[in-house]
């Protein structure tokens, strides 16, 4: 029997290596895999490259991971959120690297990784400093930038419902980066608010098919706050 459910956080985190690229779902406080981030803090992997829309807030989760000196490089679109105090301080002190990526390019680079597209052209950022050092090309009279796939060694995802095959549904704007990161992770680990029996999830409405998921931990952590 295929059963991707794991029973403990330790089991969920097993094998995440130092130096790993970790994709972290969520947008704002919605759809963030907070429990898995706490698990990763506990697990101990360091020298990480973290990919997320923001660079953490307060002193928990991703921010805490940074504060502990475990994040070498942050790849994100918007590091300067209210409350990104840990990142700001580390960055100003030169203790963390930053790669700023336009939000759609970030999503598409991960989708490309998941879809076996090593590189693609986009008009986003053409003519701006975020295109510096990147190959550009005219196609049909417009200038495009070559962007490369961004795979993760690990993807941390929050879902609304999950079954033992790893099929996921999401809730409302909790979907955001989660399905894209699930595709792009070599090891995709999910925390799910609810568990479903196989066959309970409507096959027409599955947000992430189980083929993209490796482990599911049931974490009924309730509504996002903040």
């Amino acid at each position: 029997m295929i059963d991707k459910r794991v029973q403990s956080m330790a089991e969920a985190m097993a094998g995440i290596a130092d130096g790993a690229t970790v994709l972290i779902g969520g947008f704002g406080s919605v759809g963030q895999p907070n429990a898995l981030l706490e698990g990763l803090i506990e697990q101990g992997a360091r020298d990480l490259i973290c990919v997320a829309n923001n660079a953490g807030t307060g002193h928990t989760g991703l921010a805490r991971l940074m504060e502990l000196g475990r994040v070498r490089r942050m790849i994100c679109t918007f590091p300067r959120s209210v409350g990104s105090v840990v990142f700001e301080e580390l960055y100003r002190a030169g203790n963390i690297e930053l790669e700023i990526v336009p939000q759609g390019t970030l999503a598409e680079r991960m989708r490309a990784a998941g879809a076996g597209i090593p590189a693609f052209y986009t008009a986003t950022a053409a003519g701006t400093q975020l295109a510096r050092g990147k190959e550009v090309r005219e196609i049909g009279g417009r200038t495009y930038v070559l962007e490369h796939a961004l795979p993760g060694d690990v993807a941390l995802v929050e879902a609304w419902r999950a079954d033992r095959w790893g099929n996921l549904t999401f809730r409302s704007s909790g979907r955001n980066f989660n399905p894209v990161m699930a595709m792009a992770g070599r090891l995709t680990i999910v925390q799910s608010q609810h568990m479903a029996e196989l066959g309970e999830l409507d096959p027409e409405g599955i947000g992430t098919p189980g083929i993209f998921v490796d482990r599911v931990l049931h974490v009924p952590c309730g509504d996002p706050t903040g």
Binding site: F27, G28, S29, V30, G31, A55, T77, F78, P79, R80, S81, F87, E88, Y91, R92, L98, I100, V101, P102, Q103, G104, T105, A107, E108, M110, R111, T122, A123, T124, A125, A126, G127, T128, Q129, L130, T143, F170, R171, S172, S173, G174, R175, N176, F177, N178, P179, V180, G207, D223, P224, T225
Partner: protein, 211 residues
């Protein structure tokens, strides 16, 4: 001289949005535009975080904590709305399916360049979000912003001095002083705030104006 309030600027933008358009509104004054599209027109609002058919903010007792917009504010979903993931959401943007994006800006140049994400080449940790995707991807980019900075410097310029968000993308600018189209030869004044003279507008603008 009477210049427009932020609300009046948002209302002025709303006036130009016809029924049926798919529209993404940036943070700040652009977000306020939605409140000024009357019930007589169906306009479909898009948010980068995968919300198509976004409705107004809910009453405090009806907040769905799972439903936020790109500005991280609680919103609602209209009947007919849909949720998608980030790659699909930006496919709508990048693929030219949005009729309009309205952004704020630090500067807009007479060649349509826009700078709205970083105020210096050496900015510590600049934050771009979806601005570059929206500016490059939407069918039309409009900017709504104060005509000048707080210390009186023109935000309309011959060339942008701040790092660019996109090249040659802006089609129309709404300020507290005027509405201007950007054509091949630069800014064209479409209308001016009541009581404002051409001379006053020219004095406040660091670029040539066509009347």
């Amino acid at each position: 001289m009477q210049t427009l309030s932020r609300a009046a600027m948002a209302a002025r933008v709303a006036q130009d949005i016809p029924e049926g358009w798919y529209v993404n509104l940036g943070i700040g004054i652009p977000t306020m535009v939605a409140d000024h599209v009357g019930a007589d027109r169906e306009v479909i609002f898009h948010s980068e975080n995968g919300v198509l058919g976004m409705g107004p903010a809910p009453p405090a007792d009806q907040i769905d904590p799972w439903l936020i917009n790109a500005g991280k504010q609680h919103v609602t979903l209209l009947r007919g709305g849909a949720y998608v993931h980030h790659a699909d959401s930006f496919a709508m943007i990048r693929g030219g399916h949005l009729d309009l994006c309205v952004l704020g800006a630090f500067e807009v140049a007479e060649n349509g360049d826009i700078a709205n994400w970083a105020t210096s080449e050496n900015d510590t940790a600049p934050a771009v979000g979806g601005a570059m995707d929206l500016a490059a991807g939407a069918k039309r980019l409009w900017v709504v912003m104060e005509h000048t900075t707080k210390d009186g410097r023109s935000k309309l310029a011959r060339r942008c001095s701040y790092p660019l968000t996109a090249v040659g993308a802006v089609k129309r600018v709404f300020t507290n002083m005027a509405v201007l189209d950007i054509l091949a030869d630069g800014f064209h004044v479409v209308e001016m705030a009541e009581g404002l003279t051409r001379e006053a507008l020219m004095a406040a603008t660091d670029a040539a104006l066509h009347f």
